[in-house]
Symmetry: none
Subunit: 413 residues, 2 copies
């Protein structure tokens, strides 16, 4: 069954708020088996809303609107609804009483404006709002379902989860959907496609998408069909087939991040990690500790931004900095071994590179990065040619460093 999502609000339309509401609703509905057809964003403008609501109702059986249900003058969603559905607003005593009680229990008087929140389009039902005064509105008729929810994310999410999802799940939509995301790193989108496409035969109802990020590409398998068992099996079949073709470039599935995967490997092997970061200056440590519980394996790190710090704290020989430069294989290696000694960790990773925009030379252009790894058994450094943008280079360097460690622990050559 097809569904459209409409977000209402000037702040979203003008780009001052990122439209995470539509993403949340889309994810929930597609997990439920609905086929999301379109998202639209319109401003706080009754005519634009009317047009968007009418077009959506013409195209799709279910329309979910978010935003514009507040009590102030720029909240116009209800006005557009009564125009599209040609009906009046009626004061709902139950809603009014609930809102009034909420104010009373907080020792406050209900502002006069808030009474607007108890107005409902004739014939509509409502979904209660645990966190605010704007209830969800539902008009179901002539085979169409129109739902309007507030735009405050925590309120919208509560009503979606507690009310809208159970309600929509009760409509028999006759289609199941399953999705699996395979996460890869160390290989570009085109090369992945060259490995996959020649041997790919997609079953009916199965799709594959490539999702590139800085330094990683997600492969997303989506299967649709009559039953969840069927779609789970179809998605799993393709995911396994791709894993065989792509092999070690896949580091995880679903929401698993590279720092979380490496963290789990360290924890499972009872090993610790320290880092020495020049051009990333903390980003590697930050991403490693983005994973709750990282203190089980992450000891600490050095933001070795200046050469003095590399020499004084990491014991990088002055000769190396003078002769090979701070951005060199030799320096990355010395940083990693020095870091491991300083922090007494099992593994150490080092990053030194030219992140840009300045500092590049003909011999060592922006993007050149060396990553070092040291353990009790081995130590080495590798050169990477990353991109030309500072943030991109730093993010790619962090992923490359984590991937180097993942491959070392798993003994992938």
């Amino acid at each position: 069954m097809e569904v459209e999502i409409i977000a209402v609000g000037d702040e979203v339309l003008l780009g001052h708020i990122v439209n995470s509401n539509s993403s949340f609703i889309a994810r929930q509905l597609s997990d439920l088996g609905f086929s999301v057809r379109l998202h639209t964003v319109v401003g706080d403008n009754v005519e634009a809303m009317e047009e968007a609501f009418r077009l959506a109702l013409k195209r799709s059986k279910v329309v979910v609107v978010t935003g514009g249900l507040g009590p102030t003058d720029d909240d116009l969603t209800k006005r557009a609804i009564v125009k599209v559905f040609k009906r009046n607003l009626i004061l709902n005593d139950n809603i009014l009483e609930t809102i009034r009680q909420r104010f009373t229990s907080r020792g406050m008087e209900m502002p006069a404006l808030t009474q607007n929140q108890a107005l409902l389009p004739q014939g509509a039902t409502f979904f209660p709002n645990k966190f605010g005064s704007a209830v969800g509105i539902c008009i179901a008729e002539q085979g169409r379902v129109f739902i309007a929810l507030p735009g405050v994310p925590v309120e919208m999410q509560q009503i979606m989860t507690d009310e809208v999802i159970p309600y929509l799940a009760s409509l028999n939509i006759g289609q199941a959907i399953s999705a699996i995301t395979l996460r890869t790193t160390g290989i570009g989108e085109s090369h992945l496609s060259e490995m996959i496409t020649p041997n790919l035969r997609l079953e009916p109802g199965v799709k594959l998408a490539y999702l590139p990020h800085y330094g990683s590409v997600d492969l997303r398998v989506v299967a649709t069909g009559a039953t969840k068992t069927e779609t789970n099996e179809k998605a799993e079949r393709l995911a396994r087939h791709i894993e065989k073709m792509v092999g070690n470039y896949v580091f995880g599935r679903g929401e698993e991040t590279l720092p979380a995967v490496v963290g789990r490997l360290l924890k499972d092997n009872d090993k610790t990690l320290a880092v020495a970061e020049s051009c990333t200056a903390g980003q590697l440590g930050m991403e490693i500790t983005d994973v709750p519980g990282a203190s089980a394996y992450f000891v600490g790190g050095l933001e070795a931004y200046s050469n003095d710090v590399k020499i004084a704290q990491l014991s990088v020989p002055e000769d190396i900095v003078a002769q090979n430069g701070a951005v060199s294989e030799e320096c990355a290696l010395a940083m990693a071994t020095g870091c491991r000694k300083l922090f007494k960790s099992d593994y150490a990773l080092s990053i030194t590179g030219i992140a840009g925009p300045d500092g590049g030379t003909d011999e060592k252009p922006v993007g050149i990065t060396f990553i070092g790894l040291a353990s009790a058994h081995t130590s080495y450094a590798k050169m990477y040619r990353l991109g030309i943008d500072r943030r991109m280079n730093r993010t790619r360097a962090v992923k490359a460093a984590l991937e180097l460690l993942r491959r070392e622990i798993l003994d992938i050559k």
Copy 2:
């Protein structure tokens, strides 16, 4: 002049990627004086794209599409373009040569699939892409401008900024617009509003918006009018009025970030900075060095995640960790003074807190954070009660630390 923005891609449609691209484009275009009419999101589906492109071209003079320009089979934007505009794809030798050279310079062979990236709809011009192989496409005819950009954010943003904005600015759109963003930190949206609203009288054609982020709020002044001189003056008048009311909470204007402002202050005063980070574990160093040229004042830092590192590297007395705990005013102070000695810097900042989700107690709940500052003249630490989310807490702690230093350097009490 009205503009519509269309984002293409199943991942956005299904909610797995938040549509920050449309927000970026909307912000840029509305700053330029365009009237943003609608955003649409469609999946990787040629028919859905065709319909969306046709509807948008009927309603609005300018249509900007993002996504679906990659080399793989699920990148269908060009196929929809040639259907809507009824023309062929033609191989562009200049584009092909540029892409080939980029691969060669990185010591790599161009994958065969990448050749698709050099195909352009007949009669289209292109905008070069500094970071990737997907060029922007522009078809301008019959009073309509249709622009298609890649979906990778850094690539889209570069082409928008360097190519599309100058191009669209050259079209005469008959209305001037000026915007000034005042950036504040250390104060919430409601308190800012209480300081501003009682004394605010907006001239006609001038608007003020509050844009909250983690740990900071932007105040956005937008003036519209007949000429740029008029709108510049109106916007500047309101901005100055607000600066008077809000005073030292404003740290900068426009795109100026807090790390850039603090960096400039350090540079102007010829001072250096080092950091010691426990719960942020590198994020402060990373954000400081997000500013190109930070090596002029940033020496380095310690990711002092474990207590051993705090004691061994930063010389925090064991007694403090044992008696006051690693998350304490005393520990933050000792970390800052130890950090300053270790790195021989003029200033040192330290952060230690309970970022969550675990580790909170009744006495020290999640969000409690101590930030220390040490210089040749003074040293102190302050307690902050941040939020309940790990990422939010770390980002807020970084901003609070930078703001503490800004106020110290500027002698703001």
